[in-house]
C-alpha cells in the first residue's frame, strides 16, 4: 500500500515547497513587530525536534514493523551526550551532534539484538523497560558526577555567529531545520533504495522477505540502530535549545507522546512525521485554550481538565482519521484524482 509511495510524482515538488516554506518562516522576524516572535521560533524548534524524534520512531514502527515504547531513552541518551560533552569537554554544540548520533546508534544496535527475539507486545514491554529505567539510571549515584544526578546539567545556549544577524532563536530554529532536512533526506533515500525495500518487506511479510534472501537479523538491528540514532539527534538538539537536561524530562510520557505524534501524523509517512511533531507541541496548548474557553463561556465552577480535553481530541481524531492526518490527506487525494473516473461511470 505504501510500498511505492516514494516514487509517486509530486512528492518531490511538494516536499521542496514545504521545506522552503519552513526555511522562510524565521525571516518574518525581520518584518514583524510582534514581540512574541522569538517564542514562536522556540515552538518551531520544539516541533522540529519532535518531528525528528517521530521520524526515528516511524522508521522503526512504521516502516520496519518493530514497536518501541522506549525511544524516550534514546532521546535522553542523545541529550545527555551533548550535555556532558558541552559541559565537561567544552565542546562546541555542533560537534556534539554527530557524537550523540553515534552513541545512540550503537545503543540502538545493542538493543536491537535482543529485540530480534521478541515480537509485538513482548517487544513493546522490552522497550518500555528502557523508558522506565532511563530516568533512574541517570540519577544513579555512581555516575552523578557526570549526569548531575537528580539536579541535571545546565548548559549555555549557543550564540549565533554575528555575521548571520539572526537572533538566538532564529539561529537555533535553522539549526533544527537543517538537521531535520538532512535526516529526512537521508531517510527518504534509505527507504527508496534496496535497503528500504528490504526494511519494508520485513514489515509486510517477514517470512517471505527471508525466503527472498533478506538478512532479517541484520536489517532489523540496523533499523533499530538508525532509528535510535535519529531520535538521539533530536535529544541532542533538545538539550541545546532547552539548555538544561534533567532526569524528569525523559519519562515514559515522552515515549508516549512520540507514539501519539506518530499515529496522529500518519504511520509510515514522512510528511506525517512533521505533522506529528507539530501536533505534540500544539495539542496540549490548544487543549488548555479550549479548557479556558469552556470555563469562560459556560461560567463553570470547576476547571475542565485540559488532559480530559486532550483525550477527547485524540479519540475524535482517531474516529475521523484512524490512519493519521497524512493518511487522511492521502485518502482525500485518492478520492480527488479518481473523481474524473467516477464521473465517467
Amino acid at each position: 500500500m505504501t510500498a511505492n509511495w516514494a516514487n509517486k510524482r509530486g512528492v518531490g515538488a511538494g516536499a521542496l515547497l514545504a521545506w522552503a516554506g519552513l526555511a522562510l518562516l524565521p525571516l518574518i522576524g525581520f518584518i514583524t513587530e510582534n514581540t512574541s516572535f522569538d517564542y514562536y521560533m522556540y515552538m518551531g524548534q520544539s516541533m522540529l525536534i519532535y518531528a525528528i524524534a517521530v521520524l526515528g520512531l516511524n522508521l522503526l514502527i512504521g516502516f520496519n514493523g518493530q514497536i518501541s515504547l522506549g525511544h524516550s531513552a534514546f532521546f535522553a541518551l542523545g541529550a545527555y551526550t551533548t550535555a556532558i560533552l558541552m559541559n565537561f569537554g567544552g565542546w562546541p554544540y555542533w560537534a556534539t551532534l554527530p557524537v550523540a548520533a553515534v552513541v545512540c546508534f550503537l545503543a540502538g544496535l545493542a538493543f536491537g539484538f535482543p529485540a530480534l527475539k521478541l515480537e509485538g507486545h513482548y517487544l513493546a514491554l522490552a522497550t518500555f523497560t528502557l523508558a522506565i529505567a532511563m530516568p533512574q539510571l541517570l540519577k544513579y549515584k555512581a555516575i552523578a558526577g557526570w549526569t548531575g544526578g537528580v539536579g541535571g546539567v545546565l548548559l549555555d545556549k549557543p550564540d549565533p555567529p554575528e555575521w548571520t544577524g539572526l537572533s538566538a532563536d532564529q539561529f537555533l530554529y535553522y539549526l533544527c531545520l537543517f538537521c531535520a532536512m538532512v535526516l529526512f533526506w537521508l531517510v527518504f533515500n534509505l527507504l527508496r533504495g534496496r535497503s528500504g525495500r528490504a526494511i519494508m518487506a520485513i514489515r509486510d511479510h517477514t517470512m517471505a522477505a527471508s525466503t527472498m534472501g533478506i538478512d532479517i537479523a541484520r536489517y532489523k538491528t540496523v533499523a533499530f540502530g538508525i532509528s535510535a540514532g535519529i531520535t538521539g539527534i533530536a535529544g541532542a538538539l533538545s538539550a541545546i535549545t532547552v539548555a538544561y537536561v534533567a532526569p524528569d524530562s525523559f519519562t515514559l510520557q515522552l515515549s508516549i507522546s512520540f507514539l501519539v505524534g506518530l499515529v496522529v501524523g500518519g504511520i509510515a509517512s514522512l510528511p506525517g512525521c512533521l505533522i506529528g511533531g507539530a501536533f505534540i507541541v500544539l495539542v496540549q496548548n490548544s487543549a488548555q485554550s479550549i479548557s479556558d474557553w469552556m470555563k469562560g463561556t459556560f461560567a463553570l465552577r470547576y476547571d475542565v481538565p485540559a488532559w480530559a480535553i486532550y483525550g477527547v481530541l485524540l479519540l475524535a481524531l482517531m474516529y475521523v482519521l484512524p490512519d493519521g492526518i497524512a493518511g487522511g490527506c492521502a485518502r482525500i487525494r485518492a478520492w480527488w484524482t479518481t473523481r474524473g473516473r467516477r464521473e465517467a461511470q
Partner: protein, 290 residues
C-alpha cells in the same frame, strides 16, 4: 531470617496486586487481542466510585459488589460505544485511543475528587497473623483474593462454553462467527469482565497504597511486566508473573543492588526471561501458518 521472610511476604503482597492488574490485562488480551493501557486508570476510577459509596454510608461489601457491577457495565459501554467505531482501525490507532482514555479517566478523577490521597477501608484487619510481625492478615487476604480470582477465571475459560466462545471470538473471529458465536458481544463481555477484575484490584490496592488519581501509574508498569513474563494469554502465568516480579523486586532492592535501581534491575531480569522464553514462562509458542 525474619527480615528475609518479611521481604518475601511483602513481595508476595505487592506481587498479588501486580497479579490482579495483570489478570485484567490478560482478560482483555484473551478476549480482544489488545493490551489495554487504560486498565489501571479504569481500576482507579472504579475504586473512587467505591470510595464515594462507602463515604455516603453504604456498607463495605455492598459497595464492593455494586462497584464490580458498575465497572462491568462501564467496560461494556467502553467497548460497545467508544471503541465500536474503531473496529477496523489499525492497532496503533487503538493504542492511541487507550492513551486517550487513560488521560480522560485520570483528569476527570482529579477534577472530581482532587489529587489529595484518600484512605480506603480494607476488609482485612492489618494486625499480625501469628503475632510475630512477619505476615499480616491483610497481606494474606490480598494474596487469597488474587488466587480465588485466578481460580474462577481458569474455570471460566477452561470449562464453560461462554469462556470457550470468548477465546474463539478473539483468536479467530471469522470462524467463531460461523460457529454461531456473537463475536461483538464476546468482545464487550471481555471488556466488562476486565473492568470488574480491575475494580477488585483497585479496591485491594487502595488500602495499601492510598487512593489518588495516579495510584495505578506505577502499578500498571509492574502489571504489564507480570503479564508478559508469565505469558500474556494465560491467567495462571499472569499471577505467577506478578508474584515473581513482586518478590524479585524486593530481594533485589534489599540484597543486591539497592533501591535506586531495583525496578530497572527487575525489569532487566524480566526481559532476560523473555529472551530465553519469548512467549513468557507459561505461554505457548503459537506456530504461525503461512
Amino acid at each position: 531470617m525474619d527480615f528475609f521472610i518479611q521481604q518475601i511476604a511483602s513481595g508476595l503482597t505487592s506481587g498479588a496486586i501486580y497479579a490482579c492488574v495483570a489478570l485484567g490485562l490478560v482478560m482483555i488480551y484473551v478476549s480482544t487481542d489488545h493490551i489495554n493501557f487504560a486498565q489501571g486508570e479504569m481500576a482507579m476510577f472504579a475504586t473512587y466510585l467505591a470510595w464515594a459509596m462507602i463515604n455516603a454510608g453504604v456498607p463495605y461489601w455492598i459497595a464492593f459488589g455494586l462497584t464490580i457491577a458498575v465497572a462491568f457495565f462501564g467496560g461494556l459501554f467502553i467497548q460497545r460505544v467508544i471503541l465500536k467505531p474503531l473496529e477496523h482501525a489499525p492497532v496503533l490507532a487503538l493504542v492511541v485511543c487507550f492513551i486517550a482514555l487513560l488521560s480522560i479517566f485520570n483528569a476527570i478523577a482529579g477534577m472530581i475528587w482532587s489529587y489529595t490521597i484518600k484512605q480506603f477501608p480494607s476488609p482485612f484487619p492489618s494486625h499480625d497473623l501469628f503475632g510475630n510481625g512477619l505476615v499480616s492478615v491483610q497481606q494474606l487476604g490480598v494474596v487469597g483474593v488474587t488466587l480465588v480470582m485466578l481460580g474462577l477465571l481458569t474455570v471460566f475459560f477452561r470449562f464453560t462454553t461462554l469462556g470457550l466462545a470468548m477465546r474463539a471470538a478473539a483468536q479467530n473471529p471469522a470462524s467463531a462467527r460461523l460457529m454461531g458465536v456473537r463475536v461483538a458481544w464476546m468482545l464487550a463481555l471481555g471488556w466488562g469482565l476486565a473492568a470488574s477484575i480491575g475494580a477488585i484490584a483497585g479496591m485491594l490496592v487502595a488500602p495499601i497504597v492510598f487512593l489518588d488519581p495516579n495510584m495505578m501509574n506505577g502499578i500498571l508498569v509492574y502489571g504489564f511486566a507480570s503479564a508478559l513474563v508469565g505469558g500474556i494469554g494465560n491467567p495462571m502465568g499472569a499471577v505467577a508473573g506478578g508474584f515473581i516480579v513482586g518478590v524479585l523486586e524486593n530481594l533485589v532492592g534489599s540484597y543486591v543492588i539497592g533501591n535506586e535501581l531495583k525496578l530497572s534491575f527487575a525489569l532487566v531480569v524480566v526481559v532476560g526471561v523473555l529472551l530465553l522464553k519469548p512467549a513468557g514462562l507459561f505461554g505457548r509458542v503459537i506456530v504461525r501458518r503461512v
